[in-house]
Amino acid sequence: MSNLHSLTHFWPELILTITVLAAIISDLIYRREESFKVAWWVLGGLVLTLFAIQIGGSTVSDLFMGTIALDPFSEFFKVLVLISTIAVVLMSFNSNELKDYRMGEYYSVLAIMAIGLFLMASAIDVLMVYLALEVVSIMSFFLAGYLKKNPHSNEASLKYVIYGAFSSGIMLYGLSILFGLTGTTKFIGMQTAIANLGPDSNLALILSAVFILAGFGYKISAVPFHFWTPDVYEGSPTTITAYLSVAPKAAGFAMMIRFFNQVFGDSTALVSETWSTINGIPWPQLMGVLAAVTMTVGNMVAIQQDSVKRMLAYSSIAHAGYMMMALPLMSEAGVYGIMIYLLMYLFMNLGAFFVVIYVQGKFGGEDFDNFDGLGWKMPFVGVVMTLFMFSLTGLPPTAGFIGKFYLFAAVIKAGTQYYWLAIVGALNSVVSLYYYIRVVKHMFLKGERSESVEMPASSLVTILLLAMALPTFILGWYFAPVVTWISESLVIFQGM
């Protein structure tokens, strides 16, 4: 579609851009104490964007001369990004860490990051892949270091910037090799060019695929590209940790699925269960091993943590591992499983982080000890946190169980060669039970049983906790509408 014509389908991104500008200008008007009011502008813009996506309908087309895809698949991820951004903006009102800082830039940058994530979910041109990846990365460096008087936050953002710039540089080199081999920057053109390559360019192709995998692996924090994750997640403001563990990961999976499906797959990918055109490397097995290692490392290190925030950071590596189980299949069922899991993961993980933010503000820390007796002091928060922990483990009847069910079903259905992967995944879920239940133990069995019962002082906290807890609970047994929506969203733009 031509540039001018594309604009009529580009409303969500345009509204977000206007939101960012409005937020930056309004930040100049407000005084320091009122700077949190920028959040209302951003919230309004995000809600409008959500409507714009709904009104846009489900056209399947390319925009801006084949750089961006417009399809239900990207719309699903855009909705996911918007829900998590709205939730994080609301959470930030209650954050104790952010109180001492001017908040205008914080909210504007969150909105810019949402634009970058939109582009990540819909890029079909390596130029746009790199642009979107960098927009998201640079904004997350900034947000990770937002507490500029806090040495932990400084350190987190420095580590993030070094790892991020390094891995995007490596990925860029892979992309340049791919451009050199194919002579085009469009996914579809690359696919046909790769199919016509002779065997003597196989080595270069493998090299570029491995380099590109490093970039994607960094974004979804897969082992062995995960080293930044725990430190960055621990040092960042907890609201940003919650955001980083959900939204960029979802967009990273979207970009990775689209890229491997279109560049290294063939037109039968997603239908048949083969997706490798690269000879010489057993891709499905390699991805399977990466998934198994990712979840095992995440779980084994999560067990040893004393801080709930750091534990959740490692457990998010493990969750990325569960989702990666479906990548070697690259079948429709596998992608479907990943999408369902991401939606369930969004609610339960944001909810768990929100409880950590709340406990941090009220009891001044995020260690397991700070949760002692919470279940008796504040039964509502305790019960909700218990629900999130059960759901993250994958126990029925919670959303996490449904997510895991679809993932494991896809893996098992793919054939006997993947049974070992499903077994490793199941064993890992059992291991994760140990450290999730530890939180529940601290809340109900340790510390004093207080006689007086408290509710959260602010009604916004109660509403937000309910908004995360209700989907986590209800989607555990009434998931038909969501599952239908996701199966309708499984339409990926495949070229005109």
Binding site: N154, Y173, S176, G180, G183
Partner: protein, 101 residues
């Protein structure tokens, strides 16, 4: 005289390797940033070479994009280093280890 594509690619590979080694073995945050710049410029060189090989401008457009984004990345990176230096009085990444488990 026309420089053959192989020479351009070889030079870009050498520059890229120097950049990677710099990131892995240098301990000063500023030097690490310079090494990352070297990696990105190696990519630019390769892209320009390929672009001329294919007689298309796609690669050159890519180079401009990379240069702009690299500048933005370094601007944020240097701001972060300054914020860190104010609190810790060091830019040596071996001493930046508050979070170790």
């Amino acid at each position: 005289m026309v420089v053959p594509l192989e020479h351009v690619i070889a030079l870009s590979m050498i520059l890229f390797s120097i950049g990677v080694l710099g990131v892995l073995f240098r301990r000063n945050a500023i030097t690490i940033f310079m090494s990352i710049e070297l990696m990105l410029n190696a990519v630019n060189l390769a892209l320009v070479g390929f672009s001329r090989y294919y007689n298309s401008v796609d690669g050159q457009v890519f180079v401009f994009l990379v240069m702009t984004l690299a500048a933005a990345e370094v601007a944020v990176g240097l701001a972060i280093i300054i914020a860190l230096y104010r609190n810790r009085q060091t830019v040596n990444i071996d001493e930046i280890n508050l979070m170790k488990n």
